[in-house]
């Protein structure tokens, strides 16, 4: 089998690269051990939410400061135009999910514990929760769904530092159920898809939502037709309704994954899930073929380019052994940002800066992993997403933004390597 590009990993970065390459006419295969971090993350696109302690209003202007403070940051390897273009492309390509926003201003969306969290883009089901203009909010919990605690959410939000006044209160409803055990997000999503819970929820909220109140719900409005359910709820309740992201598994993230993979399949890309890259042959600094092991067999795939989007420590793209040595798990690439041998990898304060947190693969301006002296390890190997060195995405609130921007830029680097000599062009 022969491909133009083989993408390792089916998270947001890998899917973005693969779709962008496929729609430009490339023959693409994705090889992944399983689904990626889409199933864990809220499905917002977070470009940059925090600069140190400072909450970022405009990622566009904050990026300049970020790259001055953190020269090795992944955003330093893509151009400002590429970041902007990647977000526009993402909104256009995922029109069905109704993403809105942009680089100029972050929205502020409540988390399940009631913190206002900055995001550049949010899907339609979350847009109603934007806190920037203040207002009155009602958060509704569903008894049996243990990953959403509306009274704590509302209480914290009412005390949050926000640009405009917010009032928040909570209500807990008991959905009809045959038993009193756990109601999982997937189960609830299926029952919203069937319309059963939509009718129940409208009846249960009748007369209990005050004027001008927006209604925040757990992120379980459906896997197949959440948008219709949302529109239906908003019409019948005559209020804005929105989802509030919470713990994994993320139903909104599954929608994102389903939408992206459906688009990929439709465009002719191939997805090989539950398979692992176990080896590669290179000649003259170029990867020529890659060995892929699945349950039954190991096969060789010939490819012109490879994009490594296997994720960071959380996804298994990187590992750390008991002696503190970090390893990139697919191609055994050098890992940058690891403290010297014997130096501490973690410090005792949970919220303190952890020495290992920026570890990852260092790349050149074509997003190609580099060795210690800065030259590319393979001329046709690119990397994107959480495997890149230099970011602390869970603190910066930059994870999905890095994935979309570098996934998009890796495709650019493959499609027109000469056109993207981007060094330093971000400032």
């Amino acid at each position: 089998m022969s491909y133009d590009t083989l993408v390792v990993g089916a998270g947001l970065a890998g899917l973005t690269t693969a779709l962008r390459l496929t729609e430009q006419g490339q023959k693409v295969v994705i090889v992944a051990r399983g689904v990626g971090a889409t199933h864990l993350a809220p499905a917002t696109v977070d470009v940059l939410g925090y600069l140190g302690e400072e909450r970022v209003d405009s990622p566009a202007s904050a990026l300049t400061t970020l790259l001055t403070d953190v020269p090795g940051h992944p955003y330093g390897r893509v151009s400002r135009q590429q970041i902007g273009a990647s977000l526009e492309w993402f909104c256009r390509r995922l029109e069905r999910l109704g993403y809105a926003g942009g680089l100029d201003h972050n929205g502020l969306f409540p988390t399940a514990i009631g913190v206002a969290r900055p995001s550049a883009l949010a899907p339609r089901t979350m847009l109603g929760g934007d806190l920037r203009d203040g207002g009155r909010f009602l958060f509704v919990g569903l008894r049996g769904f243990k990953d959403f605690h509306p009274s704590l959410l509302a209480d914290n939000l009412a005390h949050a530092r926000l640009p405009a006044p917010v009032t928040a209160r909570a209500l807990e409803l008991e959905p009809p159920a045959e038993r009193r055990g756990d109601l999982s997000g997937r189960l609830l999503a299926r029952r919203f898809d069937s319309g059963e819970l939509t009718d129940w929820l409208v009846r249960a909220l009748q007369g209990r939502v005050e004027a001008e109140e927006r209604v925040g719900l757990p992120p379980v409005l459906g896997l197949r037709r959440a948008d219709e359910t949302l529109a239906d709820l908003e019409n019948r309740l005559e209020r804005h309704v929105f989802e509030v992201p919470t713990l994994p598994p993320s139903i909104p993230g599954m929608r994102l994954y389903d939408t992206l993979t459906a688009a990929l399949r439709k465009a002719g890309a191939r997805l090989v899930i539950n398979a692992a890259v176990v080896g590669a042959q290179a000649h003259d600094g170029q990867i020529e073929s890659v060995q892929v092991a699945s349950a039954a067999t190991t096969m060789s795939y010939r490819t012109h380019s490879v994009v490594l989007a296997s994720g960071g420590f959380a996804s298994g793209g990187l590992t750390l052994d008991s002696r503190g040595a970090a390893r990139e798990t697919v191609f055994d690439l050098p890992v940058a940002g690891v403290p010297e041998d014997g130096a501490t990898r973690f410090v005792a304060g949970y919220f303190d800066a952890q020495p290992l947190s920026r570890a990852g693969v260092a790349v050149d301006d074509l997003l190609r992993p580099t060795d210690r002296d800065g030259s590319p390890v393979y001329r046709n190997l690119h990397a994107a997403g959480a495997i890149l060195a230099g970011a602390v995405p869970w603190k910066e609130k930059s994870g999905t933004g890095i994935s979309v921007a570098t996934g998009y830029a890796a495709a650019d680097a493959i499609l027109a390597p000469s056109a993207v000599g981007v060094s330093g062009s971000i400032g």
């Binding site: 514990i113 055990g181 959380a314 008991s322 002696r323 949970y350 869970w394």
Partner: protein, 516 residues
């Protein structure tokens, strides 16, 4: 200032203190126990969990071995629900002195510790992950002990017999008049209220902190704090307690504990028993020793590390002067030692012999009070152990299986239901999730609270009693406390888990920016 009165005031809420309080209450003394933090928050809650057969001490310290096997047999009856009968093995690895095995046989014979040699092939059949190069193997009656159940069982039994158990009550001073201790000034750490407790005898069961308490009465107790590090590993890598067949040393015990197993321990003197930072060298030592017992151990998934401080009593006086000092524990009657009446210290020792330590301490109380009352703790079962049925690995699951989906499971790792959590929060009237953890094992599984702690915080806040600031503080301090046991051992799959948890708490929920 209000005050309380009791015959016996016990200082310290570990196994020794709780054992003393129970023993005293069973003998009909009015009893109060005070503990500066929560029960089982000190040494008892931070040991490996091995109920010794005595085999470990058979050569080095025969009197300790005799005590261990006697107490082992007693606790199997009276504290059955706190014990899993894992059995134990002593195995000689290629790194261990081959001559020690014969010494061990003689030592066990002399001390009455039942030790049966089995063929190596049989040992490997029982424990297939053990190093196939082991040379000898002996079976001993070790068991796994749940320290939280044990201490809370003692405390509840004491309460049933009229005692008052006061966690989060710190002793500020002892009241000494004319060479007699009349009680203590204590502070309720939750309310800040200070009050006096008047007693006829104060029992200092503060373990590694016993020297600090003794000073308050003008007495000297030299207790050195020997810090020991332990690591909990995911899965039951072994199903019985595995000991190295050699002179006791660091990292020579690997013990199954419920669904995990624990390797221990190290031994380093620390100047301050409250300062127990875990160094990478201790972790490396334990992983290396584990590798000798079980090949692949180093890279297996470590869940959590913790450190406890052994109270190591060192008498500055001639041993003949002190009463009842054995090498396994120290009972110090300060009347005999310093002429201070109404004050007894019980320290040293080990959790396996906690009941015996309590017995000798309350015997001393009887002598001080000039009464004779018989100890019954060797016969009287703890609450929950009346049927003398030992706890089984399957006990908890078996209890849930008939009704698996009757209500929400808040902590899936440890099978904790919503109602159980709600009842415990209400009963303890606490906002400290660590207190709940110690009682229910909340967040002690592989994800270390990644999923259940947001839920538990929401449930804590759900009632009217706890506002958002208290709930947030509970969550944040739980995460900070948890990290202390995580960062020293993070590698492999547990780093992957920790990174997921970073995403959950810092990325998705953004707890770093909760309102103050």
């Amino acid at each position: 200032m209000s005050s309380l009165e009791a015959d016996v005031l016990v200082i310290g809420g570990g196994s020794t203190g709780a054992g003393v309080a129970r023993d005293a209450a069973l003998r009909g003394f009015t009893t109060i126990l005070v503990e500066r933090r929560d029960l089982v928050d000190g040494t008892t809650g931070r040991f490996h969990g091995l109920l010794h057969s005595g085999g470990r001490y058979a050569v080095k310290d025969p009197s300790a071995a005799v005590e261990c096997i006697a107490e082992n047999r007693i606790l199997r009856r009276v504290a059955a629900d706190c014990l899993e009968d894992t059995g134990g093995l002593f195995v000689a690895t290629p790194w261990d002195d081959p001559d020690y095995g014969d010494l061990f046989v003689k030592g066990c014979e002399a001390t009455g510790v039942p030790a049966e040699e089995i063929p190596v092939a049989e040992a490997l059949r029982r424990e297939p992950r053990l190093n196939a190069e082991i040379r000898r193997a002996f079976v001993v009656p070790d068991a796994a002990l749940d320290p939280w159940k044990l201490v809370w069982g003692c405390a509840r039994s004491a309460e049933q017999h009229g005692a008052r158990i006061l966690p989060y009550h710190r002793v500020l001073d002892l009241e000494v008049v004319d060479q007699r201790v009349l009680g203590a000034l204590v502070r309720d750490e939750h309310s800040g209220e200070e009050f006096r407790i008047h007693s006829k005898v104060v029992v200092n069961a503060a373990g590694a902190w016993a020297g600090q308490i003794a000073t308050l009465a003008g007495c000297v107790v030299n207790v050195r704090a020997g810090m020991g590090v332990m690591i909990a590993m995911n899965h039951r890598i072994v199903n019985s307690a595995v000991n190295r067949l050699k002179f006791p040393a660091d990292g020579d015990i690997l013990l199954p504990l419920r669904t995990a197993c624990v390797i221990g321990t190290t031994d380093v003197f620390v100047p301050d028993p409250d300062d127990t930072e875990i160094g990478r060298d201790a972790v490396d030592l334990l992983l290396d020793e584990g590798e000798k017992l079980v090949p692949g151990f180093r890279e297996a998934r470590a869940l959590h590390a913790w450190a406890g401080v052994r109270p190591l009593f060192e008498d500055t006086r001639d041993v003949a002067e002190t009463r009842d000092v054995t090498r396994s524990h120290a009972l110090l009657d300060h009347m005999a030692r310093e002429g201070v009446a109404g004050f007894v210290t019980i320290t040293g020792g080990k959790t396996t012999t906690f009941r015996l330590m309590a017995e000798v301490a309350v015997d001393a109380v009887c002598r001080q009070l000039g009464v004779e009352r018989r100890c019954t703790t060797a016969e009287e079962p703890l609450p929950g152990s009346e049927s003398h049925t030992l706890y089984g690995l399957d006990t908890r699951l078996a209890a849930r299986e008939p009704v698996p989906q009757s209500e929400e499971i808040i902590c899936e790792c440890e099978l904790i239901t919503r109602s159980r959590l709600e009842q415990t929060i209400k009963r303890r009237a606490t906002t400290n999730l660590d207190d709940i953890r110690r009682l229910l094992r909340l967040a002690m599984g592989p994800c270390q609270g990644g999923f259940c702690i947001y839920r538990a915080t929401g449930i804590l806040h759900h009632g009217d009693r706890v506002d958002h600031t208290e709930a947030n503080r509970a969550l944040v301090s739980f995460l900070e406390e948890r990290w202390k046991g995580l960062h020293p051992i993070l590698h492999g799959d547990q780093l992957r888990q920790a990174r997921l948890d970073d995403w959950i708490f810092q990325g998705i929920l953004d707890v770093e920016h909760l309102p103050a």
